[in-house]
């Protein structure tokens, strides 16, 4: 695709939405610190210019925790350099991103073992022990 790359398109583009988004994150963090509920922001619902999603990722940085899970395709849960702010990326089995969320919470819900799965686990384990 070198012929396309040679077209000199400069992306000095800004939607003006990056800053407001970060402010929203700040407010969500404050609420979380005050013991209120966490917040989930769907990045797909926000108009972003090319490159801005990467910029947000860069601004948020990488924190201590990174978890990968494999459920209907890989998902990555990355704590950002701001504890309490998580970046959750869902991909399908074809590695295509199908959803991207900023979660402001102590721990993304998805990381916890789910009640239904735990119950299923009990029966599976029992089944294992019986046999």
């Amino acid at each position: 695709m070198s012929s396309l790359d040679t077209i000199p398109v400069t992306a000095e583009v800004a939607s003006g939405n990056v800053k407001p988004l970060l402010h929203e994150v700040r407010h969500a963090l404050k609420r979380l610190a005050n013991g209120e509920d966490g917040t989930v922001i769907d990045l797909q619902s926000i108009p972003l210019a090319p490159g801005e999603e990467a910029r947000i990722e860069e601004l948020l940085g990488k924190g201590e925790v990174r978890a990968e899970l494999d459920a209907l395709g890989p998902s990555v849960v990355q704590e950002t350099s701001y504890p309490g702010v998580w970046l959750v990326t869902h991909s399908n089995t074809e590695q295509v991103v199908v959803g991207r969320f900023i979660e402001v919470t102590h721990m993304p819900e998805l990381l916890k073992s789910q009640q239904a799965d735990i119950e299923h686990a009990i029966s599976r384990l029992e089944h294992e022990l019986e046999s």
């Binding site: 619902s45 090319p50 209907l72 969320f101 998805l110 789910q114």
Partner: protein
């Protein structure tokens, strides 16, 4: 997926964990343009959802809508939505042909009377029904017959929703939209040429999740996707505000990604979700690729005075009419001046 199984059971049967299901739900909620906070509600509804029957009719269309849908993210989370519905008739996708296909349609209609979803793409020629027939049945008859017992109709694509390209002036086939014929059923218009695939699946997901049709705008389109115009959500909007416009497709402004308003972008009058959902797995959308929005999700978008004329420009044929108007005005001016002069001349000779 068996008919009476719930979606939750089905997915569990497929070995999908609760985690996987939640991930599926959050992607689906995002797809339906629901806020993330609705996740729990969506999860619960989806877990208990029953598999609906869907009949898909294609009339005067180009199959672009079907292409848009099937060529998009296969196999993806959306494909699960498709797995979750029973597509009982779709003449492009189904294996059956001829009488067998029609029989499948009749069977689905009978078995799920009052409950099945009818999806239509393409417009219906009413000028002469013979312009488009399937199995010897005119589109008009087939639509009426199939719609009679449908729960709701999803008009996919601008042709089905508003008449689309076949309806463009001078509309040789007398093409009309579904809503021009069917007036007693809920109709969801998923317009676009083609519609964004995620929007099609999003509407199906909504129906699957809530068993009801989503909130619609004045043109019968799901408000969640068509509630805002492209311009309002366009990342190039700041250039519009700053008055930085590309004047041609190869100028400095075009290269710098400036606003395409002057090149005929119909973003301000076009309601769709392209600017956020984007196309080709979220890669881009027309404006991001350097071409103005052509307004394909709006009625009569072919007849808005040209794709490359700005919306603030007039839509009309010639300036000759104005020259004619000037000539007519001048003639009237001369005439009225002469009449006034004659009257004044007559008055001159008098004493006072």
């Amino acid at each position: 997926m068996r008919k009476n199984q719930s979606l939750g059971e089905y997915l569990q049967g497929q070995g999908v964990s609760r985690r996987g299901f939640l991930k599926f739900c959050s992607a689906t909620a995002s797809m339906m343009a629901l806020p993330p906070s609705a996740l729990a509600q969506v999860a619960e509804a989806l877990a208990n959802a029953r598999r609906p029957s869907v009949i898909w009719l294609s009339f005067q269309e180009c199959t672009g809508c079907t292409e848009s849908l099937t060529r998009s993210h296969a196999p993806t989370v959306e494909s699960l939505i498709f797995d979750a519905i029973s597509l009982d008739y779709h003449h492009t996708l189904q294996a059956a042909a001829g009488h067998g296909a029609e029989a499948a349609r009749m069977a689905a209609m009978e078995e799920n009377a009052g409950e099945y979803l009818l999806v239509v793409d393409g417009s219906i020629p009413v000028g002469n029904p013979a312009y488009s027939t399937i199995a010897g049945i005119s589109n008009l008859d087939m639509l009426k017959e199939t719609a009679a017992n449908a729960f709701a109709i999803i008009a996919v694509g601008t042709c089905a929703a508003f008449g689309g390209l076949p309806h463009a002036d001078p509309n040789p086939t007398g093409a009309v939209a579904v809503s021009d014929i069917i007036t007693d059923k809920p109709i969801i218009n998923v317009s676009g040429c083609p519609p964004i695939p995620v929007v099609i699946t999003g509407v199906l997901a909504h129906f699957l999740t809530f068993g009801a049709i989503p909130e619609l705008d004045a043109l019968g389109r799901p408000a969640a996707f068509f509630g805002q115009n492209i311009h309002d959500r366009c990342y190039r909007r700041p250039f519009y505000e700053r008055g930085q416009f590309a004047e041609t497709f190869d100028d400095e402004g075009a290269r710098k990604g400036w606003c395409l308003y002057k090149l005929g972008c119909k973003g301000p009058t076009t309601y769709n979700a392209c600017a956020t959902l984007k196309w080709n797995e979220g890669t881009s959308f027309p404006i991001q690729s350097g071409h103005g929005c052509i307004g394909c999700s709006e009625p009569d978008f072919w007849d808005k005075g040209g794709f490359y004329n700005p919306i603030s420009a007039g839509m009309w044929g010639s300036r000759d009419a104005l020259l004619g108007a000037a000539a007519a005005g001048a003639a009237l001016g001369v005439g009225s001046a002469l009449a006034a002069r004659r009257r004044q001349k007559k008055a001159q000779g008098t004493e006072i």
